[in-house]
């Protein structure tokens, strides 16, 4: 920080919801951070970490949060900023109303302060087999070619960084419900679209037709409004609704050929 900026005397006010341990009580703490041009929420959090003193001069513990890439592609630094779930790295202070309120995404278990445990989402990805199996006991050779236009379209779905913002926005995802959530559902569409991934599409459809699956979506469509990557989550869900409708009838009435 240059002397000129510090001398400008301008400060930014933050209100942060603190919590010391997973099941502990939470409390609000206010901080005053020197303003720097172009600063984001993370740079302010870094300042607080260096100077863990509240706005009224009381010493406190450094605020805990997750971060990694700092360019909105990893999804780790998601938190609720002024009521909206989003990435703190791309949340610019100049564009936010003050005091800037920071809260953890409480749809997930809170670990400490702004840090949450997003395991629920990663477990969901495992459950739906959100990958393309390419290994065999022998050389499987090349897979089928993917049309270029399809690849370009699928790229949009692949932008998902499992940040958890759609989980926080969804009224049907919470500790009292077992809904799998929007992001893993959209991944099912992505991997079922891939020519090699489609070879296991029935397994992924079966996975989302179980407990807490696709049908638990309540169509509030908050996910698509909140997604920082603009992924067409509700279109993915509606498309899977059709795929599971067909799959359901094929399973009951059809023959034993479950893949294509």
């Amino acid at each position: 920080m240059s002397t000129q900026q510090v001398e400008s005397g301008k400060t930014v006010r933050f209100k942060i919801l603190r919590q010391d341990n997973p099941n502990g009580p939470s409390r609000w703490e206010e901080f005053e951070v020197p303003y720097r041009p172009g600063m984001n929420v993370i740079s302010a959090l870094m300042y607080i970490r260096q100077n863990p003193v509240t706005a009224d001069g009381k010493e406190t513990t450094p605020v805990t949060w997750d971060m990694n890439c700092l360019e909105e592609v990893c999804g780790a630094c998601s938190m609720v900023i002024n009521g909206r779930p989003r990435q703190s790295c791309s949340a610019l202070v100049d564009q936010l109303e003050q005091p800037i309120r920071l809260e953890p995404m409480k749809t997930f278990p809170v670990v400490r302060d702004l840090q949450v445990d997003r395991s629920r989402m990663f477990n969901a990805l495992k459950k739906v087999k959100a990958w393309i199996p390419i290994d065999g006991s022998y050389d499987l050779g090349e897979g089928p070619r993917m049309p270029e236009r399809k690849r370009q379209w699928a790229y949009e779905l692949s932008k998902c960084m499992t940040c958890g913002v759609c989980f926080e926005a969804c009224p049907n995802v919470s500790e009292k419900s077992n809904f799998i959530g929007p992001a893993p559902l959209s991944q099912v569409r992505l991997f079922n679209t891939h020519p090699t991934g489609a070879m296991n599409k029935d397994e992924r459809l079966d996975a989302i037709m179980g407990e807490g699956g696709l049908a638990n979506c309540g169509n509030s469509q908050n996910c698509v409004a909140a997604c920082p990557k603009g992924i067409p989550l509700t279109t993915s869900i509606a498309s899977l609704n059709r795929a599971t409708t067909v799959h359901m009838f094929r399973k009951f009435f059809g023959s034993d050929h479950m893949v294509d």
């Binding site: 919470s174 419900s177 407990e211 509030s220 469509q221 509606a238 059709r242």
Partner: protein, 204 residues
């Protein structure tokens, strides 16, 4: 039970339209005959008396009571597993999400009362279902208001439910088709509400 959650939810969605939704349209249309006066209404509803009692009761249980009980009770479970966040996400669809749940819970109460006041009284032999019966009920302005809110809840729940049905079964997938169906469902809501409300007002 939980293992088959997907199928329970799909059944819930299907039963809301067939037969419960169809029954509501039929019920409100029949009530609309009240706008033609007491005689028209009594002769229209009197058609039911031509159906043998045992057959009518069987149809009532299979086509109305069992589906509506399942839809209502499972719906309460669905409604109370939600965590509404309309203050933070104030979009049209999110409000419809909340309204669908509020109207649903209210309808369980309303329909239970409505059944008690009409069908159960008839079964107990306390009253005859007729124009005069409804006239006596809505003589009380509070009861009239309760019925109007009940009718509007039912029509909104069905209209928005039809939209959700189309999404849930994968009929409307694109955002454009979902938007068009939002408009269509709202037009349907206005039409069926006019039929329902003018019917209840005809008893006043």
């Amino acid at each position: 039970m939980q293992k088959y959650e997907f199928y329970w939810r799909r059944l819930h969605s299907l039963l809301g339209v067939i037969p419960v939704g169809l029954f509501l349209v039929f019920h409100l249309s029949l009530n609309f005959t009240a706008t033609g006066g007491a005689e028209t209404y009594d002769s229209a509803t009197g058609v039911m008396d031509y159906i043998p009692g045992w057959l009518l009761l069987t149809i009532e249980w299979i086509v109305i009571y069992i589906p509506i009980l399942f839809h209502g009770l499972y719906g309460i479970y669905i409604a109370f597993t939600a965590t509404p966040n309309n203050k933070r996400f104030s979009t049209f669809r999110n409000w419809m999400f909340l309204l669908q749940r509020i109207t649903g819970v209210f309808l369980v109460i309303f329909i239970a009362w409505h059944m008690f006041q009409t069908r159960i009284q008839k079964a107990l032999g306390n009253a005859e279902v007729s124009f005069d019966m409804m006239k006596n009920i809505v003589d009380n302005p509070w009861m009239l208001a309760f019925y109007i809110v009940g009718i509007l809840s039912a029509t909104l729940h069905l209209s928005n439910g039809l939209w959700a049905f189309c999404v849930s079964w994968g009929i409307t997938q694109s955002p454009h088709s979902q938007k068009v169906f939002s408009w269509l469902s709202m037009i349907f809501f206005v039409i069926i509400s006019i039929i329902g409300v003018s019917a209840i007002l005809a008893f006043v």
